[in-house]
């Protein structure tokens, strides 16, 4: 099923959705949002693309397979527990650092964000894995 409208929409929507999913991911610690919803949006972006252009072309344009994406996500979630050990705290304790503190660009980064990033990739990976395997047939 080739639809020009869907193809044009998907081409323009994909970068927008990816950026939006990153915004949702970042604000997730103290505001509504987070890794799961962000991951769903990222997955949705690629599923939309796959609906318009087919699974094969989408796989090529992502370059990384959904399984590997899930693996990266799990790895990040695992790694996020480790900095706490180096600081001598218990496993999974949240550790934070602040960049540009005081200025208006203040950026707080910490291990919970890393964990969320892991969730983000895992969810996106699993979602695309399932959807692609249904759509391929």
């Amino acid at each position: 099923m080739e639809s020009v409208i869907l193809q044009i929409a998907a081409r323009h929507m994909r970068p927008l959705l990816v950026i939006l999913s990153l915004v949702v991911l970042y604000r997730g610690h103290n505001e509504p949002g987070g890794g799961f919803i962000g991951g769903l949006m990222l997955g949705a972006a690629y599923i939309l693309y796959a609906m318009a252009f087919g699974v094969e072309k989408t796989q090529k344009s992502i370059r990384i397979s959904p399984v590997a994406l899930t693996g990266i996500g799990l790895l990040l979630a695992l790694v996020s527990g480790l900095p706490a050990l180096m600081e001598g705290h218990l496993f999974m304790t949240g550790e934070w650092t602040t960049f540009f503190s005081g200025s208006s660009f203040e950026l707080k980064l910490g291990t919970p964000l890393l964990f969320d990033l892991g969730v983000y990739f895992t969810v996106a990976g699993m979602l695309t894995l399932v959807m692609f395997s249904i759509m391929e047939e």
Binding site: N30, V123, M126, V130, S133, I134, E137
Partner: protein
């Protein structure tokens, strides 16, 4: 409000059981989805239906007391994620089953036993 929720949950459970007992396996998956929704609502009600602020801390004194209990929401979110995963898997499974056997009937499922 509690009464309405009780009715809603009951209706959802009823619909879920009805769908689970159908012979069509796609309806079986729908039944699983309804079952998940009904239970998420049950968690929501069990945590207490209090009106309050969303539980994001700001520097307003006395806000903690007015906050809604965040834990049931966290539980529901987790339960939703899990039922999403299981539903996705069940869909793939049922689809595979359909493409292998070319039938959606549960009765033919138990044919060779």
């Amino acid at each position: 409000m509690l009464f309405l929720f009780a009715i809603l949950i009951g209706v959802l459970y009823g619909a879920a059981v009805y769908l689970l007992l159908r012979r069509n396996i796609f309806k079986l998956v729908l039944g699983l989805i309804f079952l998940g929704h009904a239970t998420n609502l049950l968690l929501f009600v069990a945590g207490g239906l209090t009106r309050g602020f969303p539980s994001f801390l700001r520097d307003i004194p006395g806000e903690v007391e007015k906050m809604a209990d965040p834990l049931p929401q966290a539980l529901i979110l987790t339960a939703i994620v899990i039922s999403l995963g299981v539903t996705a898997f069940a869909l793939v499974l049922v689809y595979r089953f359909y493409s292998v056997t070319k039938t959606v009937d549960l009765d033919e499922l138990s044919e060779n036993e």
